[in-house]
């Protein structure tokens, strides 16, 4: 039996790990060689690119912007998606399937098509600007495309469907009887929500938020198209380093920096949440 499963696992394991380690090794090791221009790298191992990545304000600002945008996206998505997930989870099963299916439908559509829609909606002559001008709220047009809010908007679109589907299964697994018990004992609906539903769903919220954070940190399409070349997040900077300067070493070091940062944030949040829960249980 034992040997049997190893034989079953071996072929997919070899293929997947070759693709994973092979490609990542070939690319990331370039980060330790100095760029010589026209796509060539030096032969001497050095930390030059990483030192540049972690000291030059341009790259550090890109990382900070990337982080701020990702946190904003996660926060906005949670605020919008949590109540929706809760409402859908407490509907009759027939209706919750309908509303969840709607979320699946929207996630079937590629991000570029959604970005195309957002560009039309917020274009200079798009429905939003025309409506606002018609109501007289604004004289000129409001700009969303080419700003940070445009990028946040695009990523929030991506995030909401994802978050509702993730949180739905979390909230659905909280027995309704717990809420009823709290209510019978005199808690108001709000109190039940804050003291029962939200704490019990916290582990799910944290893991869903981290997943969305990781996606948002690596987001490229929305950052390029909705940022209009003005919102320089790390993925955009990485692409430009290749496209404009063909510095593969620098691009590799920046990719290394991005992944290290994302990894560190994940580790820190998981540890922090575990500590917090441990502390709370120690008190009660």
């Amino acid at each position: 039996m034992k040997a049997n499963w190893v034989v079953v696992l071996a072929p997919p394991f070899l293929v997947c790990m070759t693709l994973l380690f092979g490609t990542q090794y070939v690319f990331l090791q370039l980060g330790f060689f100095r760029d010589l221009g026209i796509g060539q790298v030096g032969t001497e191992l050095e930390l030059f690119n990483y030192i540049r990545a972690f000291t030059e304000p341009f790259f550090l600002n890109a990382l900070r912007l990337n982080f701020v945008l990702a946190v904003a996206v996660v926060a906005i998505t949670l605020i919008v998606a949590y109540p929706i997930a809760y409402i859908v989870a407490r509907m009759t099963p027939k209706w919750s399937i309908v509303f969840l299916t709607a979320m699946v439908v929207s996630s079937f559509v590629s991000i570029v098509i959604k970005v195309l829609g957002i560009i039309i909606i917020f274009g200079a002559d798009g429905p939003v600007n025309r409506f606002l001008r018609w109501t007289g709220i604004i004289e000129e047009q409001i700009l969303v495309i080419g700003t940070k809010s445009g990028v946040i908007m695009g990523l929030t679109h991506l995030g909401i469907a994802f978050m509702v589907m993730m949180l739905f299964s979390v909230i659905q697994s909280i027995p309704r009887s717990l809420e009823e018990a709290a209510e019978i004992h005199g808690a108001s609906r709000w109190r039940v929500f804050w003291r029962v539903v939200i704490p019990l769903s916290m582990p799910g919220v944290v893991s869903a938020s981290l997943l969305l954070f990781n996606i948002a940190m690596g987001a490229f399409v929305s950052a390029v198209l909705l940022g209009g070349g003005k919102v320089m997040t790390l993925p955009v900077v990485i692409q430009r380093t290749i496209l404009l300067y063909t510095e593969y070493g620098m691009a590799a070091a920046l990719s290394g920096m991005l992944m290290l940062f994302v990894f560190a944030v994940n580790i820190v949040s998981v540890v922090a949440v575990t500590r917090m829960r441990a502390a709370r249980f120690a008190v009660t």
């Binding site: 034992k2 499963w5 190893v6 079953v8 696992l9 072929p11 997919p12 293929v15 997947c16 092979g22 490609t23 990542q24 070939v26 990331l28 370039l30 998606a81 929706i84 409402i87 399937i97 509303f99 299916t101 709607a102 979320m103 699946v104 439908v105 929207s106 996630s107 079937f108 559509v109 590629s110 991000i111 570029v112 098509i113 959604k114 195309l116 829609g117 957002i118 039309i120 909606i121 002559d125 798009g126 429905p127 469907a161 589907m165 299964s169 108001s188 997943l211 990781n214 996606i215 490229f220 399409v221 198209l225 993925p235 990485i238 290749i242 590799a252 990719s255 991005l258 992944m259 994302v262």
Partner: protein, 307 residues
Amino acid sequence: MTGRQLIGASLRPGMHALLPERLRRMHIGKLLRRLGSIFWMTLGYTFIFSPIIVVAGSSFDGSSLDLRGNSAFLNFPPENFTFEWYTRISSSLYQALWISFSMASIAAACGIVLGVPAALALIRGTFPGRIILGTLFRAPLQIPFIVIGLAFLQAYYEVGALIGLQLRATFAGLVIGHVFVATPYVVGSVGAVLQRFNVSLEEAALSLGASRWRTFKRVTLPIIMPGVLAGGIYAFLVSFGDVTISLFLTGPNINPLPVEIFFALDREFDPTIPAMATIVIVGSGLLLYVIQRLVGIDILLRGGGNG
């Protein structure tokens, strides 16, 4: 007046007849919560669907037709309703759609071929290090897609230089990059299904004299089928909609449709793009309908894929 008061109780007797029975019996707090819920749901779902509706709507916009697509942008709501853009879709866009479709199908199929045995071994096997191996199989989803794209591009350069096998800017190279991200979806969803069902069913079949292959075909496969389908569908969708990985691996004549749309938005707008996007949206809807008729949509809702 508290939230627990009945709505009917706060009205003068003569006004009772104006409200339906159900509403009169509702607590005021409950009514406010209902209204709040409806408001929030409307807001959320409008936000989610607005880009899709706007793309579909503006593909019928004829207000800039006379400009011959020169810097023309489409309006929503559409003016001068027209089907003209649909007839003007270039053959290269149809080719891009075909490339996307075949690429995503092959990638999902390869993902299933690699992912199903991996998931079976990882869940049913008893060898050490399964948790680490499981993490490694899921690792591609943790790497930003731009890093995956660049890494495959560099690896293809290297393979080309070492053994002369040209993968860069080829269809095969494109597909391999997508198989890499397709497999974890299948491993994830098949693994989730396997964890839920009891190994004793398989053991019963084996002890009753069924061969291993027969046990797999008659017991295991029917049980994991929803997971295989869900993983395959998610893998297909991720591959079909991907821009970032494809961007670095494509070459002339093998651009998938999302890459063509990306170029059109990044460089010069092409007014037939919304028409093509609408065809894709309708196609996705049809795919969903077929899934619903054949196996039921809920296989996609039960923990399928990793998002």
